[in-house]
Amino acid sequence: MAEKKGWKDLMRGADLPPATSLENKTGSWRTLRPKYDPSNCTHCMICVSYCPDMAIPTTVTEEGVVGKDGRIYKGRVRLETNFDYCKGCGICANECPAKCIAMAREEEVVESSPK
């Protein structure tokens, strides 16, 4: 955030402008990282609706994406987790009926990834 304000310039009390959680990137709290395997995903949206941080973005696609059993899934599909906000709680992996999300220790994933 920008330079800290003095007490005379702050909003009254502990009130803040809305949507400040966007500025607070909670991804740094993560110790476990969800590894998402799109080739096993049915795009059922269960992980999306269970994610407490709304950290699984979705899109609508006409041409579709390849998912479980090589099928083409059209319409609303999930994308890779947004690691700016994902805290690694593992709820998505626990809830996924297709078992296409696995939790791995953050340092192992980061070390083995090309970036």
């Binding site: 007490w7 909003m11 009254r12 009390g13 502990a14 009130d15 803040l16 400040t20």
Partner: protein
Amino acid sequence: MFKLKAFSGAQATAEAMRQINPDVVVAYPITPQTPVVEYFAQYVADGIVDTETIPVESEHSALSAAVGAAAAGARAMCATSSQGLALMWEIVAATPGLRLPIVMPVVNRALSAPINIHCDHSDSMGAATVGWIQIYNESPQEAYESMLLAVKLAEHPDVLLPVMVMQDGFITSHGVENVKILDDETVRAFVGVRKPDRYLLDVHHPYTIGPLALTDYYFEIKMQQEEAMIKAKAVYLEVGEELSNITGNKYPYFEEYRTEDAQAVVVLMNSSAGTAKDAVDELRNEGKKVGLIKPKLFRPFPYKEMRDTLVRFPVVGVLDRSLAFGAYSPLYSEIRNSLFEAEKKPKIQNYVYGLGGRDLFKAEVKKTFEELLSQNVDSENHRYIGLRG
């Protein structure tokens, strides 16, 4: 302009609430506060107020619900006593931090243990440091009028702090007296409608309330709260002046009773002031120059005004209805503090009386005055009235 009605303190408070017609009243019973929300619930059941009542499962929930309603933009109230105030403690501290103008009648009752349902001031005195404005009241009449004052004081844009309106458990809350009740229109014109500058149900102007503030901002937010409390002192008099125009009564920081040329005064709060005034009258009839000071606004405390008044007297006795275990008693502490800057200090003595509802008798007050007049005082040690040795 007003009607005389035979009301207990609790009923007078509920009557004030009926006239104020708050948006939300949260109800949870606790002796001796129970009749406040009980009478009010009857008004709701009878359809004579528009208030939404929320019955809850504990005092912690009671104040939490009032906080939620006030944050949403409502004029919200709840009422409590003793253990109830203790149970809601976490939210008691959060309410002024969130700057929500909740008005809460507190019917003073001794804190457990041992369990006791009668009056002393250990409940509200324990809550004196967390940021609520505190107004103490001698009678049902004062409790009624302070409710009206409290609403305007709490919601004043320079203040926006919660207010506790005290009265003594049973003695005031259940004792019936003649109370001058203003007509509804006058009260409604006086208290008006709450106009919050921002509130959560204003969905077109969203904002965040109650976020985390650590080493970076907590200190600044608390300073804002302190500034509001400092301003509340002047606003109390302003709003009191407005109310005075309607009721003809005065709303000073503290009441002075027969203090002119007094050689000794006692300082004490709430219902015992009534007993002590009788003692003052009798001693005055005997030619003894004694008087009484009854603080009404305890938070913020009017140190300077109290000092300027107390230096007029040679000796001052301070009667506390609670202990502060290991420290000077709450009222006595403030009186001692207020005298620090005085060049010529009166002699002072603390007396602790009436814990757990033990009566304070006129004869005891008269004996206290005799002791004060003899100037046999010890400012460093408590004395006790009505305690078996």
